[in-house]
């Protein structure tokens, strides 16, 4: 072991939350709604991994592309059946948010039903499982550590490449900026929305597929990550995908490390309050600077002291 187990868990968790936060922010940018079902999408990935490994006996890593595809398709289905219909009917942000809550409730129940049926069919436990046994060793470490870190980095790089270099990515950014103006310019906003929903659902499921490799998994565990995801996105700023990378990683890391540190300091009872940490981050960000790091950055750019500070730390100015 090169790293203590707690740091390994924290980094794996942070990578997963980063991937999920990127998707959450992307949905917020293109559809202008917080997708409460985003954490539950990961549940599809969790059960894809489960089915691939426990039922069919393959390595769960083989299920990752399948999980990506399944999640993307489900997400597109959600967009076409619910979100698009409601927004065409003139539903505002609140209606769409309630719709995502309804999807979350529905999807969680559907996952529980799937787990129940698998249990009835194969007589194995399906709730509260881990797939550590199916993992391989790499550099004397569990493979998932390297894989999750790599997936996170590759996702970020690919996303950056897509958003800045490809036509679809640029169109996506334009759609996020101004829907009407971009449709005037000839961008098929509906197709862009479908792409973006596919991407977010797929990324969420990819993260979900990695989840049971280290953590105790159940449909509820997937749904429970939503607070961390939202805290991560909010910390980075809802208007910026790159912010979500920093925010998601920070929240994921601090959730485990801060809990662990406080447990060392105050006693084991702190562990019960672990879900409060992302909640505190969330509320603090909302009350102090609702636009997160993005807002802080813009404020610094606006003030001379902030500019001086940014220059001092060697920040390159754009333009």
């Amino acid at each position: 072991m090169l790293l203590p187990a707690i740091w390994m868990a924290a980094i794996i968790y942070a990578c997963l939350i980063t991937i999920l936060s990127i998707g959450f922010t992307l949905t917020y940018l293109t559809a202008k709604i917080p997708n409460f079902a985003h954490g539950t999408y990961a549940g599809i990935g969790i059960y894809t991994s489960y089915t691939i490994s426990k039922i069919f006996g393959f390595s769960p890593y083989l299920g990752f592309p399948l999980a990506f595809l399944l999640g993307g398709l489900f997400s597109v289905l959600v967009y076409l059946v619910v979100i698009q219909v409601l927004s065409r009917m003139g539903g505002g942000a609140i209606v769409l948010t309630i719709a995502t809550l309804a999807i979350q409730i529905f999807l969680q129940a559907a996952l529980y039903i799937y787990a129940f049926w698998i249990r009835a069919l194969y007589q194995t436990y399906t709730i509260g499982f881990m797939l550590k046994l199916f993992d391989f060793r790499l550099f004397d470490m569990p493979g998932i550590f390297t894989v999750s870190l790599l997936t996170c980095v590759v996702t970020v790089i690919l996303l950056h490449y897509m958003l800045t270099r490809t036509r679809t990515g640029v169109a996506m950014r334009a759609t996020a900026e101004d829907l009407e103006l971009s449709s005037v310019l000839g961008i098929d906003t509906n197709r862009i929305q479908i792409y973006s929903w596919f991407l977010t659902g797929g990324l969420a499921c990819l993260a979900g597929a990695m989840y049971p490799m280290w953590f105790m998994s159940s449909p509820l565990a997937a749904a429970g990550t939503i607070t961390s995801i939202m805290a991560g996105s909010l910390l980075g700023g809802f208007e910026n995908v790159y912010g979500a990378i920093i925010g998601g990683f920070g929240v994921g890391l601090s959730e485990i490390i801060v809990t662990f540190g406080l447990q060392q300091l105050l006693g084991s009872w702190v562990g019960e309050y672990r879900p409060l940490i992302p909640m505190i981050i969330l509320v603090a960000v909302l009350l102090i600077e609702p636009r997160g790091l993005q807002g802080i950055y813009e404020r610094m750019m606006a003030s001379p002291t902030g500019l001086k500070f940014l220059r001092a730390v060697g920040w390159k100015m754009e333009g």
């Binding site: 202008k32 709604i33 917080p34 409460f36 619910v82 219909v85 409601l86 009917m89 003139g90 539903g91 505002g92 942000a93 609140i94 209606v95 948010t97 309630i98 719709a99 809550l101 309804a102 999807i103 979350q104 409730i105 529905f106 999807l107 969680q108 129940a109 559907a110 529980y112 039903i113 129940f116 049926w117 607070t227 939202m230 909010l234 009872w269 019960e272 309050y273 879900p275 409060l276 909640m279 969330l282 509320v283 909302l286 009350l287 609702p290 636009r291």
Partner: protein, 392 residues
């Protein structure tokens, strides 16, 4: 209902179902009407009614129980120790169910005082909670507010689970039976009281809506800039609405605690106390009192019947009925929003009593609750709730 109260035996069978439906109808009428008051009429999307309900429940377990213990000890009954966390849970059953209830059996006046005291305190604490919620509500956009409130509902449950002194932690705790003097089935009386409170709050909300203040409220929902420009304090009015409605919502938590004579945080789940009332509201017709009443009646009757006849339904589906409930909740919410966006009874214009509308020009203006919060009107660049610019 009346002969049910008269009967001294425990209620069972069909009568049990009626009592159950009456009880839950009363409870959800309170919650759904206050959500309607906040969202349907004032445009504040309160997704955190579970917080206020949990405040009502914890009031009984943390404050009323301690007060009762103190009073009973003053009266000379020797209670087992209850100061430490361990004793609080371990001796809870003996303290409450044997010693305290035995004393309360002979003291009707004390019982009634305790019930009214709990209701009053929970109302007060609920209003305080409403004030706390109003702090972010003044600053945040509608969707951010929803995120915050849903988070708060979870947080309050976590705190209730881990701070044993509030409600006995994961195990829960018994609370004094304020109807100990009644020889028959306690739950029937509690259902009657709840139904009574629910109907009273329904009429209070209904009257308030067509008062000058209620019309002002609706005016703020429609266009807060105009209301502000004629010299009304928009922020203050919103805060008052939140505080008032939160206070009423907390009553539901207190009443359900007395119905079960037991408080545990798992009883105050977010889905149960937030999403179902919202379904009732959206199904019945937001902004319409009669619609909310009808929606509450329909959903409560449907749910209780599913729960009571769950063996029958489980045979139909082949999976546990609890999951079917969630599927039903999710599907109904979306189906109602797509196929019946204005609810069963759509919102109507307010007619001010005392004005002869026949002599006025009749104008039918379609009112759509979905466009109510003006958050999207400004292209997301403004703080929807209070029209504050985002960059200040």
């Amino acid at each position: 209902m009346l002969d049910l109260i008269g009967s001294l035996a425990g209620v069972s069978g069909q009568a049990r179902l009626i009592v159950d439906i009456a009880m839950y109808f009363g409870l959800f009428l309170i919650v759904a009407m206050s959500v309607n008051f906040q969202y349907g009429n004032a445009g504040v999307p309160n997704m955190g009614c579970a917080v206020q309900v949990i405040v009502g429940g914890f009031t009984v377990s943390a404050i009323t129980t301690r007060l009762t213990f103190w009073l009973v000890q003053m009266a000379g009954v020797q209670l087992l120790p209850y100061q430490s966390d361990y004793d609080w849970v371990y001796n809870n059953f003996t303290n409450v169910s044997v010693l305290t209830n035995g004393y309360l059996k002979e003291h009707i006046f004390l019982c009634m005082t305790l019930l009214l005291f709990s209701l009053a305190v929970s109302m007060f604490l609920g209003a305080v909670m409403g004030w706390v919620i109003a702090v972010p509500a003044i600053r945040l956009r509608a969707t951010y507010l929803m995120i915050t409130l849903i988070t708060m509902a979870d947080a309050s449950q976590i705190i209730g689970r881990n701070v044993v002194g509030i409600s006995g932690g994961t195990l829960g705790m018994f609370i004094p039976n304020v109807l100990a003097f009644y020889p028959g089935d306690r739950t029937v009386v509690m259902a009657v009281i709840t139904l009574f409170v629910g109907l009273i709050s329904f009429f209070i909300f209904r009257t308030m809506l067509n008062s000058p203040y209620g019309r002002l409220m609706r005016a703020i929902r429609e266009n807060e800039v105009t209301v502000g420009s004629v010299g009304k304090n928009v922020v203050g009015i919103r805060r008052n609405i939140l505080m008032f409605a939160s206070g009423i919502t907390a009553l539901a938590g207190t009443l359900v605690a007395f119905y079960f004579s037991y408080v545990v945080e798992a009883n105050y789940q977010r889905a149960f106390w937030t999403y179902w009332p919202w379904l009732m509201l959206i199904m019945g017709g937001p902004g319409n009192n009669a619609g909310t009443f009808l929606g509450t009646a329909l959903v409560v009757a449907m749910r209780r019947i599913i729960i009571v006849y769950k063996w029958f339904f489980e045979g139909l589906f082949g999976f546990p009925i609890t999951y079917f409930e969630s599927v039903l909740l999710g599907t109904l919410l979306i189906a109602v929003m797509i196929f019946r966006p204005n609810g069963i009874i759509p919102e109507k214009l307010l007619y001010i009593p005392g004005i002869n509308y026949r002599q006025l020009v009749r104008e039918e203006v379609p009112v759509d609750w979905r466009t109510a919060p003006k958050a999207k009107a400004g292209g997301g660049k403004r703080f929807g709730l209070f029209g504050k610019k985002e960059d200040d």
